[in-house]
Symmetry: C2
Subunit: 586 residues, 2 copies
Amino acid sequence: MSNILNKIDSPKDLKELSIEELSVLASEIREALLKKVNVIGGHVGPNLGMVEATIALHYVFNSPIDKMVYDVSHQSYVHKILTGRKEAFTNPEKYHTVSGYTNPDESEHDYFKVGHTSTSISLATGLAKARDLKGDKENIIAIIGDGALSGGQAYEGLNNASVLNSNIIILVNDNEMSIAENHGGVYENFALLRETKGKAEKNFFKTIGFDYYYSEEGHNIEQLIEVFEKVKDIDHPVVVHMHTIKGKGLEVAEKNKEQWHSAFPGALNIKPDQKIQMPESYPSITKDFIVDKYEKGENVIAITAATPVFTGFTPDLRVQAGIHYTDVGIAEEHAVAFASGLARNGAKPILSIASSFVQRTYDQLSHDLSLNNNAATILVYAAGISAMDSTHLGTFDIPLISNIPNMVYLAPTCKEEYLAMLNWAVDQNSHPVAIRIPDWNLISTGIEDTTDYSILNKYKVMEKGSEVAIIGLGGFFKLGKKVKTMLKDKLGIDATLINPHFITGLDEDLLKSLESNHKLVITLEDGILDGGFGEKIARFYGASDVKVLNFGSKKEFTDSVPLNELYEKYHLTDELIVADIEKCLK
Amino acid sequence: MSNILNKIDSPKDLKELSIEELSVLASEIREALLKKVNVIGGHVGPNLGMVEATIALHYVFNSPIDKMVYDVSHQSYVHKILTGRKEAFTNPEKYHTVSGYTNPDESEHDYFKVGHTSTSISLATGLAKARDLKGDKENIIAIIGDGALSGGQAYEGLNNASVLNSNIIILVNDNEMSIAENHGGVYENFALLRETKGKAEKNFFKTIGFDYYYSEEGHNIEQLIEVFEKVKDIDHPVVVHMHTIKGKGLEVAEKNKEQWHSAFPGALNIKPDQKIQMPESYPSITKDFIVDKYEKGENVIAITAATPVFTGFTPDLRVQAGIHYTDVGIAEEHAVAFASGLARNGAKPILSIASSFVQRTYDQLSHDLSLNNNAATILVYAAGISAMDSTHLGTFDIPLISNIPNMVYLAPTCKEEYLAMLNWAVDQNSHPVAIRIPDWNLISTGIEDTTDYSILNKYKVMEKGSEVAIIGLGGFFKLGKKVKTMLKDKLGIDATLINPHFITGLDEDLLKSLESNHKLVITLEDGILDGGFGEKIARFYGASDVKVLNFGSKKEFTDSVPLNELYEKYHLTDELIVADIEKCLK
């Protein structure tokens, strides 16, 4: 282990170091970060940009009495190193002992589990108000950057923090980036503030009522300590606007900030000129679809809220697409309402968004879009049970989206169905349509899908059988096929296999017809059971003699649990499902 | 009918009038508004403040080619009068032919159904972008005010509208108010801009990148026409900041803006010094509970997002409460995250919010609050099936809230249960707790509730019977009692009656035990069935011989449909339910 980092077991160990030693420490930390990220992957760019600032924060403030709230918290690796968790970054055997986000279960220096953007200011305002209620005096610090200031919740937080009348420090880490480049008018003001070293009269933070400090050199520990000392124990709300370089210290990352926001294992071993051939994927075929449409003169427009990876548009293609591509920045609520407005005036918006972030837009999906029945298309990515961190689960979108009136939520099982659904969604003018992308891996059957999706809630019987009917939704249709095979092999049952296509409604005629020669209907869905698809089937058969078994995940926040463990636990393997069926039929 | 108004059948009729005639028209409109509102109630303050501005807008712009989007749209009465719907305001027999909000089904001059705040800028940005895609040239105007600029979605919209690079006009109706007074730092900037007649260097809108015009006299039609003419056909984003008086022209409303935001029928007949005795209500007993707690030295804090009516705190009491009462302004997302932060640092936050607005906070309820398991209390008001406008329905909160892990959602049936639940929620430190206020009318049984709510998901058997079990949730428990009575009378069945208390989980032991001597379990919930409480019961019994019937509302946006019609339609009367039970038992 390295020299100085070796001695740091808690923030107080920092306070005895000289500025020079702190600089050496920064180098050692950077080295450890790169080594670890190259083994297990992670948010390399954001953390390289926060090395000096985190050292200076812990040098000046007294965590955990003084409370730091990291926004998104994917930039908290250095904070973890300095607060007793360095081994998780220096000892490869312990790499997996900490998560990629702050977590109160890991350390008293972490106040919240956080993985969504723009929340830190509201959370910190709550901590500060509670401090005032109790008559305490500690510093409360929100650390926000990486584009999170375009999120509405951050603004609501700023607007309330600024009238708190007591200590709250908002450290704005201005690295000129979201995941991709920043979008939105306020970032032009930040550029002006950087150009004028914080002296411009036109100052967003001041108009909202904040005292304001600017720090140009976000990688100069001495200067950072100076400005943090100035605001420590301040008796009113203050913004410290700090200019940093995303990816600082790693040349490729400084040059290509978007690509190095997050790195996959081994990314550092890739040669700079090495072209990585990306396989065909749902984003890539969607991009092709959109390009084809606008080249034919259609008013399609691809929309992302700062996660362009889901759109399939690379930086070059975005420029080519011109008005047919829009990144609204981290502003998911706006993205959905904007799409509704576009559809209302005759355009064809296609918004790509992750399941865990579509959560931010329930009211926009309901009130702005579905109540108005505007024909926008929403593509929901990263949906389904996964080994993800508890802040990035994709298991909740079915209850969230499918219980909204007017909305049509579709579940394709393969490339061909997806393209047919997408084409229908974009061409029609009657419904808001969401499509749940089934998987990262594209399954292609090679068989064209000629389904007419304008006939809503029509399920497709893929194989006709009796006794047991298997309804396999979207990504879990393939599990349904396996169950059918095993049912035949083990119990000699020739089950009916159904691909429902629609999450948002029941094919009542088909379900009714099953009653004549089926004892049991099972549903398989890649998400939580509570409020989901299967429960609607259970309700439908509630008064009949047909029995129903619903398979899906439990209502819980899982945290980086391996997928096979989750499948075991939830009975989502063909063996466990067939055993449950056998028990039920006895 | 009055003289000039009589001649106005569409906006183009305005364009032939002199300024003097337009002023007379304003008086006639004001008169009609007051007369109508005094008969059927409505948003009197916001509309009185928009009379001149709406006349000037329609004088200058060419609706519906030029497109106006009213934020919240409760201030669109004058717009309706001028766009072919005046009879709904002048002819008492036609008062109910228009809704209180914009509605594309009513008129081509209305672009969206809108009843939630802060959405207009995003929606208008979508209209504008579609216009640009099509190569059209019309004006797009968002009309926002009444405190809606503190909402995060408005900020996300501003931030994107300002970089649109083409025509979009944001008319900010600054009446110095939300429903209550404004809260948040940005409003101090608006005050500065008013004081300086828009000339202050510190200008929120300019920092976000807007061109900016200020209009001091929001009730001077000539001046308004002048400024609107200046921005008409402008080729870039612009904010017109207009100063108006909420309630203009009605003395009591100008003096007491919060009370006259919305008026009940006959409100104008109340004498100014007449004291209205408010009956005991859920807000009033909650307020008493909170005052009692903080007087005993507990760190409770009442939170509202600009709807203080749900807190029970009158303006006087808010001042008395000091730090124990916070209005965060229209900023629901912040309110929930703020509550999470408060709870994390040892305070006892109690947030009161309407069902239709809690929708805006799904991600905060999930990610910021429940994932962190912080013990905040959320009181959900105005929940349940109702004759409300489609934008203000209270039927969706059960699927929204109850499918979030860790969250405890409680359903009291009376005052005593509510107080016991509230007391438990505030005292404990283990769970975020939401409580669904069952009704506006307080039911008191007079029997103290001694239930230990820390034993989660324990249902209460109120009357033991057999054959049929009735699970009556929250406000529908009273319907359950009626059904039990009628079952006895009509079918001679002695049904079991259950008060589940908990929406978020199943009492599996109890449900299991029912299997021995019950053929049918029915569930009654005051909200949509899809994703709701009853479906979980149906799933539980899916593989058993017990049949299940779920009663609740359909998945649809109803629009001001009388409650008894909805109850008929959804089979939510004792007669219809008993008939369904009879059919099922046959």
